[in-house]
Symmetry: C2
Subunit: 172 residues, 2 copies
C-alpha cells in the first residue's frame, strides 16, 4: 500500500503553462484552493517536469478542468513529456482572458493564475497563483455550482479513474 | 457564480487537532498532497478556527477520511465551533500511532502529520505536515488503492455532497 493513496480518489486537473510554441499541458492531482479572498490556488509540480520550467519562466499558469470525456487527453498529458504531446491530444488551445498562457477550449473550466508564491516541498515545487480570470461551461456549472452530470474526473490509482455519482446528498 | 466552485466537487476531509479535553475536529476541503517522498500533506485553515490555534500549539494534526455514512458528523464538524461539538458527533477518538493528536475510529483512514511549514495565504493559513503514521480500513483500501464502494465523500456546494460512481475507467 502506497500511503499517499489514502487521500485518493483525488480530482484530476490539467495545468497549462508556457505560450506559443512552448505551450504545454500536464495532468495534476495535487491541486487545491488555499484562500477564498483573494482567490488563491496551489499546485505541486515536480521539478523535472517541463511545466516547472515554464511556470518559473512566465509566472503564470492555467488550471483546466477536464471531464471524463477527456480521459485520453488527460492520460497523454500525464505520461508524455513536452509540448510535442499536444499534437497527439484532441484539445484546442484558446486565448485566456487575463494571462498570456492559453486555456483549453474543451475543458469544463479554465482558471487563470499569476504566481504569487513558490515553495520547495520535498520532491515537488508548490506554486501558488492568484486567480485573475476564468471561463467555464455553463452546463457544467449550473446555478452557481458544479453539475454532477458533467462527469468531473477523479484519479483512483495509476491507470484508473472515476467520476461522481449523480445523486446529491444534503447535509441539512 | 462563486469562482472558487469551479474547482469543485472537492474531497471533504476531517482535520483533528489538539489532545485530551482540547481535541477538536473540523471539516476541510482544501487539502492536498504536496510531496511523495517525503510524504507531505497540506491543509488550509482559517485563522479564526479553533483548529488553527491547536495546530499552532501542538504542531501536529491528523487528516481523517470520512465516508458518506459520516455526512452528519462532517456537517457538524464544518459548521460548529470548538470541542463541545464532539458531544453531538457520533465519532470515537482513538490514539494515533505516532502523534499525540487522536485519530477517528470510524474514518476510512487517518493520516498523522507533524507540521514542517506554515504559510500565510490570503484568508487562510497553509499548514504542511510530514506524514509520520497512518491507519486505514482495509475494505476501503483494497489491493493498495481506494475502493469506490467505500463511498468517499466530496463536497459539491454549501449543503450538498456527492460520492463517486462505482464504475472504474481505465486510461490504457
Amino acid at each position: 500500500m502506497q500511503a499517499y493513496r489514502l487521500l485518493y480518489p483525488m480530482r484530476t486537473y490539467l495545468v497549462v503553462s508556457g505560450k506559443g510554441e512552448e505551450a504545454n499541458v500536464m495532468a495534476a492531482d495535487w491541486v487545491t484552493i488555499v484562500s477564498f479572498n483573494p482567490f488563491l490556488v496551489g499546485v505541486a509540480v515536480a521539478p523535472q517536469r517541463t511545466t516547472h520550467g515554464l511556470i518559473k519562466k512566465y509566472k503564470e499558469f492555467v488550471i483546466s478542468v477536464p471531464s471524463l470525456d477527456m480521459l485520453r487527453d488527460v492520460w497523454i498529458a500525464g505520461t508524455k513529456k513536452g509540448p510535442a504531446k499536444l499534437k497527439e491530444m484532441n484539445i484546442t488551445l484558446i486565448p485566456s482572458k487575463n494571462v498570456s498562457v492559453p486555456s483549453i477550449k474543451e475543458a469544463l473550466a479554465n482558471i487563470e493564475c499569476k504566481v504569487i508564491d513558490e515553495r520547495d516541498y520535498g520532491d515537488h515545487i508548490w506554486f501558488v497563483g492568484e486567480v485573475v480570470g476564468y471561463s467555464y461551461n455553463e452546463e457544467a456549472f449550473k446555478n452557481g455550482k458544479p453539475n454532477p452530470k458533467a462527469k468531473f474526473l477523479a484519479h483512483l490509482s495509476w491507470t484508473e479513474f472515476v467520476t461522481f455519482s449523480e445523486e446529491i446528498y444534503r447535509a441539512e
